[in-house]
Amino acid sequence: MSFIEGLRNSPLFRVALLGALIALGLAAWSAFGTVGAYDVPFGMQPAPAPQAQQSAEANLPFLFAVFIVTWAAFFGYVLYVSRRQREMQGEIEALRRALDDRERSSADQRRETNPNN
């Protein structure tokens, strides 16, 4: 398996990528929202910042971005761990069946080689 392929198949990488995309989206949304508020036609003096932008709540989107990114990362990680647990449960079941089959076939062989027992 090549390095890139391995990275692409890694669940942790997918979760990290999803987190990064969410962060980027939120950051872009916050940034464009602020830039848009100051947009003026070419050649004109920029309009003064609206009062609301200067108030204490002006940076609320950044706070929510942090909140959402933090929780998305934790939920993503918990999902990854629980999925891995499910996969492992499946592997344990398969291994259990393989071991049972092997024990059964070795018992049959013993019976065939020594039919008196």
């Binding site: 942790l12 204490a56 942090v66 393989a98």
Partner: protein, 233 residues
């Protein structure tokens, strides 16, 4: 029935301690959110963005603690050769990269309204980015490095080198001129801000311990399963 099949049938029951930690972290998180959004006062200069502090600082604290735990577990693995220490180091490193990523992302989102930029090559930010690369290096060594004991030993050495970064991050504000506040240990804070910060640190620490126990348990099972596969093959 062989030992292997018996071991598969006797899966350990889910621990009471883990359930208690999960319940405690849920309750503490509800309390923390109340304190952060409704109880703590809004800081006059930074405005509402200062509340990011209650997420960013605990994440930073745990990100630094994680690499020290990885290094300590790696030393024990190198000294004793026991698999459980390697499992602890791996689990902590995997969780550490989640926290280190969150430190960088939350820091960037806080930096934009306060400093006007998403990123600057401030010593604290740069050393934290180095920590992130150390975690990535450790996990890449585990995934793509030599298999078996050799890969584990190489990764342990990366963790030991990485642990040197933790005190550098902590002392960065003392050693270099940086945009971060000089006081690592909060002093002169409003009582409500300080209490909210301490509750938040406690909450994130409890949640970290819970996640680490879950991941460690999973990692132990993965190691046992690998061992069983080896025996069956």
């Amino acid at each position: 029935m062989t030992y292997s099949t018996q071991a598969l049938r006797d899966a350990p029951p889910r621990g009471l301690l883990r359930d208690a930690l999960l319940a405690a972290s849920a309750l503490l998180m509800a309390l923390t959110l109340y304190l952060v959004y409704f109880w703590a006062p809004t800081e006059q200069n930074l405005g509402v963005s200062q509340r990011i502090f209650y997420f960013h600082v605990p994440l930073g604290w745990i990100g630094m603690v994680s690499i020290v735990v990885v290094a300590a577990a790696s030393i024990l693995h190198l000294a004793t050769g026991r698999q459980k220490w390697d499992d602890l180091a791996y689990s902590t490193a995997e969780l550490g990269i989640v926290y280190a990523s969150l430190i960088i992302v939350t820091g960037a989102v806080w930096g934009k309204p306060v400093w006007g930029v998403w990123w600057t090559w401030d010593p604290k930010l740069t050393t934290t980015l180095v920590l992130w690369f150390i975690y990535v290096g450790y996990l890449m060594m585990r995934s793509y490095g030599p298999a078996g004991a050799q890969g584990k030993r190489f990764a342990a050495i990366i963790a030991l080198i990485g642990a040197i970064d933790a005190p550098i991050i902590y002392k960065a504000t003392d050693w270099w001129r940086t945009a971060h506040p000089e006081n690592n240990v909060p002093g002169g804070l409003d009582d409500r801000i300080l209490i909210t910060l301490l509750v938040s640190v406690l909450t994130f620490t409890v949640m970290y311990v819970y996640l680490l126990m879950e991941r460690y348990s999973l990692r132990r099972s993965e190691s046992d399963l690998d061992e069983l596969y080896r025996r069956v093959a």
